[in-house]
Structure formats: C-alpha cells, structure tokens
Symmetry: C2
DNA sequence: CGTGATCTTGACCGAATGGTCAAAACAGCC
DNA sequence: GGCTGTTTTGACCATTCGGTCAAGATCACG
C-alpha cells in the first residue's frame, strides 16, 4: 500500500476510519502509549488490515500530524491586515478557542508531539509555522507602530493566544476538576478571554 | 523494599539518582515512552537494582508526581490576602514563571499526566488542588468586590497564569522554533506577562 | 576479623507489541 | 459464471519491556 490518494470507495472509507480511530488513541495515550491493536479495534478492522492501508504505526501518526498542521493554522491565516486591529485580534482569539471546542483531540495530539520535543514535525515548526507567525507578527507590529493597538510584543501576543486557548483543550481534566461539574469551562473562557485581550490590546 | 523513608546513606543517594533520572526520562518521553532500562542507565544503576529501590515503574512515577504536587502549588500558596492586590498577582505570575525556568522537566511531567487524563493524580486535583484554588479565588473575588482590582473571573485568572507560564516550559521547542535562536523566550516572557497582567487587573 | 544486613547483578521469564506472509474472501467487470 | 485485482485475516515471528530470583559482593559494626 504505497497509495497516496485513496482510489476506491473502500479505501476512502477505511482510511478515514483508521485516521479517526488513531486520533482517538494517539491523543489519549500519546504515540508510545497507543497500540496498533487498540487503533484497529477502534476502527473496526483487524491489525493486519490496518497495515494494509498504512505501512506502519509511524506512518499513521505522521499522516495525522501533517493533516493537522494545515487546519491548525487556519485561524491565524484569517487574520486580516486590512481589518480593524482590535476586532481582528479578538476574532482570532475566538476562532482559536473554537478550535479547542471543536477539535480537542487534535489539540492534544499536537501538544503531545511538542511536549516530546516535536520529533516528527520539528522541521515544519521552523518553516511553515515560523513563516506564518513572522508574517502576522509584522502585521501586528504595524498596528502597534500606527498606534492602533497598545504596544505589545507581537510574537508573545500570539503565544499567549495559543497558550490560553489550547489550555482549555489540553488541560481540560484539570480545568473541570477545579471548576466543578456545574460550570462550562469553554463558555466562560470565551467571555474571559474576550475581556483579557480587549484590555491588553485596546490602545 | 517497602522502605518509605530512606535510612542509609546509600539509599538516600540512589533514590535521589533514580528519581532524577526518571524525571529526565518520564518528562521527555511520557510514562509509556519511558523504559526502566533507560532510567536505570541514566541513574547509573542496573535494572534489577532499580527495582530494589522501587517496587515498579509505576511507583517511581507516582513518587515523582506526589513529590511534585507539593512544590508545584507553592507560588499560589504564597499569594498573600493581606498584600497589595496588583502587586500580589504580579508577584504570583513572576514566581510561577520562575518555576517554568527552574523546573521545566517537572512542568512537562505534569503536563504529560494531565494530557493523558490525569490517571494517577486525578483525585488530588479535585481535593488538594481545587481546595487551594477555591481559597485563593475567594481572596481575589474579595479584591474585585472591594474595587481594588479590575473585575475578572478569579478561577480563569488563575488558569490564565498557569496556561501562560507553563506554555514557555511545555512548548519550549515550538517557542524557540518560532522566535529563532537569538532571542531568550523566558526573559521576554517575563516582561510581556508583566504587561499583560498589569493591564488585565489594574482597576 | 567475623557476621549479619544491605546492596548489586547476570540470567531468565511471560506478556505485549510492531510487523510479516501466504492464503482465503470478495468486488467489479466482461 | 469466470477472471482479475482488491481486501481481509489467522497464524506466526522477533523484539522489547516490566519484573523475578538466587547468588554473589559489599558494608556496618561489634
């Protein structure tokens, strides 16, 4: 199976099922903690059948990560240099938080990878990621110099968006343990982060 | 070896060496990714010798975590209800960031545990951690109601301190990849976070 | 120095795990 | 129905890993 693009209906369906199952297992147990048997079971396939569609456990992991990188940066890509600065930044925060809500598994998969020192997507960080961040940081710096937002380091501003939004996905267990069952973390986070970033960047 | 407190000199030395080596390995590879052989090698002992001091891999991990929980909450414990609110909060941020600088391995160990759903310290989150946070949150709420700091949700304020400070330890690889080799992330973070929280809580 | 307790290790074990393979089952098409 | 390429699987393998054990080395102390 060195098929890059699934051709048949069955291939498309099974590759989807495998990647979805693998996302479950990898994000919950990390790369080493995940086993092919568990992934196979979750996907409703036999282990050899898994390995018919992907050459190795590593290949599944890489497939997930590279697929993730794309969508992961979308919220930042949408930051519009021509828009109203404060509204643009608050919109970015809201979009990023929405990703924590919609794709917590992806967030944890990413967190796991970075925590282990990014052995598989290290290179992509220094190219794809850095390039995009530098580009948007320049935009933000422009806004600062024009006096349209308060003076802040653009890179660390972006880091703070990542840290704060991803925290609610990655540390979900902790957040819920502290808040108690009655409260909705993500709902409250939306209001809190709105306030936080509004105070931070409004001139 | 059901010794709780090391008695002899050798025991003290070797248990220290093991826990330090285990911290290295666990924080870098996660629980499942860590092997007794690696830990033993890093500690300069043979594997059976390891298991003379600790009954199992799990026991080493638990020992690390419970030892960690203690020091991990120190910065928050020191938050003084009688102090000047803004200075107290900024001091908390600075202390917490200092922990990311001094104990990045511990931070990653903790992050790994929470990411996996806190299978080993889950209970401690809902008791020890929650109790402390609730207590300090009440203090902060008092400050808000007295008009001494700007109105913010105390729990999410604390979460934001955790998220922002731990991000620089846990996602170090990513931060460095984006910033480039010439910049010192922690140094810049200190100034940035000072600004951020000052703007957030100053009435 | 002798002796009992502490410490260390080589050899080994069973279970789990990533991966292989050849053969069977199946799908699509004439 | 028969043929070809695709899909599925049971049986199997080599390695890794957590953990055991019995015997030997070393230490503390009278």
């Amino acid at each position: 199976m060195n098929v890059q693009k699934p051709r048949t209906r069955i291939q498309k369906k099974n590759r989807r099922a495998i990647l979805d199952a693998a996302l479950d297992v990898f994000s919950a147990h990390g790369f080493r903690g995940a086993t092919l048997d568990r992934i196979a079971e979750a996907a409703g396939l036999s282990k050899p059948n898994l390995l018919y569609y992907f050459p190795s456990k590593e290949a599944i992991h890489v497939a997930l990560l590279s697929q993730l990188m794309d969508t992961w940066l979308d919220p930042l890509r949408e930051l519009d240099p021509g828009g109203e600065p404060v509204a643009e930044l608050l919109g970015y925060v809201r979009r990023k938080l929405q990703m924590s809500r919609d794709f917590p598994r992806e967030s944890r998969l990413f967190a796991n990878e970075i925590l282990q020192g990014a052995p598989r997507i290290g290179p992509a960080l220094e190219t794809e990621l850095k390039d995009l961040v530098d580009e948007k940081a320049a935009v933000i710096r422009g806004w600062v110099e024009a006096g349209r937002i308060a003076p802040v380091d653009p890179h660390h501003l972006i880091f703070s968006v990542w840290a704060l939004t991803q925290h609610y996905a990655d540390f979900d267990v902790q957040v819920r343990a502290v808040l108690g069952a009655a409260r909705d973390p993500l709902d409250e986070a939306e209001r809190f982060l709105d306030t936080l970033f509004a105070r931070l960047v409004t001139p």
